[in-house]
């Protein structure tokens, strides 16, 4: 089961994950919206799989469908990891 993870750790996993999916690392900042980045629902499911693999935090496709920004994703993972 997940132990406490820091905001920085989550941010790194998400940034590395999106970079692996083909996105420009420099553009992956908390304020960036997934719409602007052109990250779609398929990418978000892959991102959720990476988060689960790396951090042990399970996210459903309904959870990630609600996300609007990179910061939203980081906050959601931090909150889930702490619960």
């Amino acid at each position: 089961m997940p132990t406490q993870v820091t905001q920085d750790e989550v941010r790194k996993v998400i940034t590395d994950g999106l970079a692996e999916l083909g996105y420009e690392r420099g553009a992956i900042v908390p304020d960036a919206t997934f719409e602007d980045l052109d990250v779609d629902s398929l990418d978000l499911v892959e991102l959720a799989q990476i988060v689960e693999e790396e951090l042990g935090v399970e996210l459903g496709s309904a959870d990630v469908a609600e996300l609007r920004t990179v910061g939203d994703a980081i906050a959601l993972v931090v909150a889930r990891a702490g619960s």
């Binding site: 999916l21 083909g22 996105y23 052109d38 398929l42 892959e46 799989q49």
Partner: protein, 405 residues
């Protein structure tokens, strides 16, 4: 008024390289792209055509189709802007198997890491219609778009279907062809298990020693346009799709009907569709797989239709140079056929050295030769047949013409 269909652009990714010209020139020069029992498109780098994200979202067969279509559209002068309203352009692409490599990879993920780890891209990667979907999206083609699945006849079926759409007026133009990337463990083992592939790893169609096909990979894509519309925009006309026909053996799961009867009927119907007869044929680009059964029944079929003319017409197989591209074969070979007519060069059946006593046509051994105009010909154009026959008994034949200028 009959609508005619012309080819205004071609593109190919084959084991002989990236580009239709490389396919034509290297085959005619006698280069064989087969090594270690397979013919890989080893010069292809997807990142020359696609972003990292696009490449992740397309199986290798789709990547081949995208690259070949880019070349074909550029050759036709379709870039940067389509010369037709997107809704009037069809996109029909054949494949034998689709994204088998992606399926194989995700199967391994499932077994090793469980169902939650299976990629959400798995279905869009492996679906048989992924190539036409990707090409249509890339270029804004909003007419009829679908994949054609008929094993090794898929490329020819796709071109035939697209040509019919233009003839009937359902579309004014089409981007069509075939794509395949099945050199992976499952397919290699499966083709070997059924005895279809060559144990010697040599593709030598029509030779007495032939022992099966060599698996290849790649794509061939063509831009087809209604002839008057193409002329109106001053398009470069490479060839005309003069005729097309398809039949079915209804005989056996994999083996061709031994007499070649239904293959012959497809050839005859394609010629009739073109309004031509045996005396008009200058060249036959054979399906010529290098399997004992195909090459025999295909020879029978050619003889049934062309009669005495069969012994005068050069017959050669592209598979001697690039192996068997399965669902892409018919499309890559249609392009090779067009280039042969355009260049007036009959490319050879490589590796053909020991004649099979039962197979007695002119298979163009040794080296390429000049395409001679028919002694009795009208002289206004060169005409070729391109045969494609698939497991399941599917027979598809294209009759292609190039103006003699």
């Amino acid at each position: 008024m009959t609508r005619r269909v012309v080819v205004t652009g071609t593109g190919a990714v084959t084991p002989l390289g990236v580009g239709a010209v490389k396919l034509a020139e290297r085959w005619a020069a006698g280069e064989c792209a087969i090594s270690d029992g397979a013919a890989r498109a080893s010069e292809f780098d997807p990142l020359e055509f696609l972003s990292a994200k696009e490449a992740r979202r397309s199986d290798r067969f789709t990547q081949f189709a995208i690259a070949a279509a880019d070349e074909a559209l550029a050759a036709a002068g379709w870039t940067p802007e389509l010369p037709y309203e997107g809704g009037r352009v069809a996109c029909i692409v054949g494949t034998g198997i689709g994204g088998l490599g992606s399926l194989e990879a995700q199967e391994a993920v499932l077994r090793e890491r469980g169902p939650r780890a299976v990629s959400p891209l798995a279905v869009p990667l492996m679906m048989g219609n992924a190539a036409p979907a990707a090409v249509a999206m890339r270029h804004g083609l909003r007419g009829q778009t679908y994949g054609v699945v008929s094993a090794c006849a898929a490329g020819a079926h796709a071109i035939g279907a697209a040509a019919r759409m233009i003839e009937s007026g359902e579309a004014d133009a089409a981007v069509t062809g075939g794509a395949e990337a099945a050199i992976c463990e499952v397919a290699t083992a499966a083709f070997a298990a059924m005895g279809a592939t060559s144990p010697s790893g040599i593709s030598r169609p029509f030779d007495a020693r032939r022992d099966g096909f060599v698996i290849g990979e790649g794509a061939g894509m063509l831009v087809l346009e209604e002839a008057e519309a193409a002329a109106a925009r001053g398009a470069p006309v490479l060839a005309e799709v003069l005729g097309y026909a398809a039949t079915s053996d209804a005989h056996h799961l994999t083996a061709p009907e031994p007499s070649g009867r239904e293959a012959a009927r497809a050839i005859a119907l394609a010629l009739a569709d073109a309004g031509l007869g045996p005396g008009d044929v200058d060249y036959v680009n054979a399906h010529g797989t290098s399997t004992p059964l195909n090459d025999r029944s295909e020879t029978e079929a050619i003889k049934q239709v062309l009669g005495d003319r069969a012994y005068e017409v050069p017959v050669s197989s592209t598979k001697s140079a690039i192996g068997h591209l399965l669902g892409a074969a018919g499309a890559a070979e249609a392009i090779a056929t067009i280039e042969a007519l355009r260049r007036r060069v009959v490319p050879p059946t490589l590796g053909y050295e020991e004649p099979d006593p039962e197979l007695d046509l002119d298979y163009v051994p040794g080296r390429a030769r000049t395409l001679e105009p028919r002694a009795n010909g009208a002289g206004d154009r060169f005409v070729a047949l391109s045969n494609s026959f698939g497991f399941g008994g599917h027979n598809a034949v294209l009759c292609l013409g190039v103006p003699a200028r």
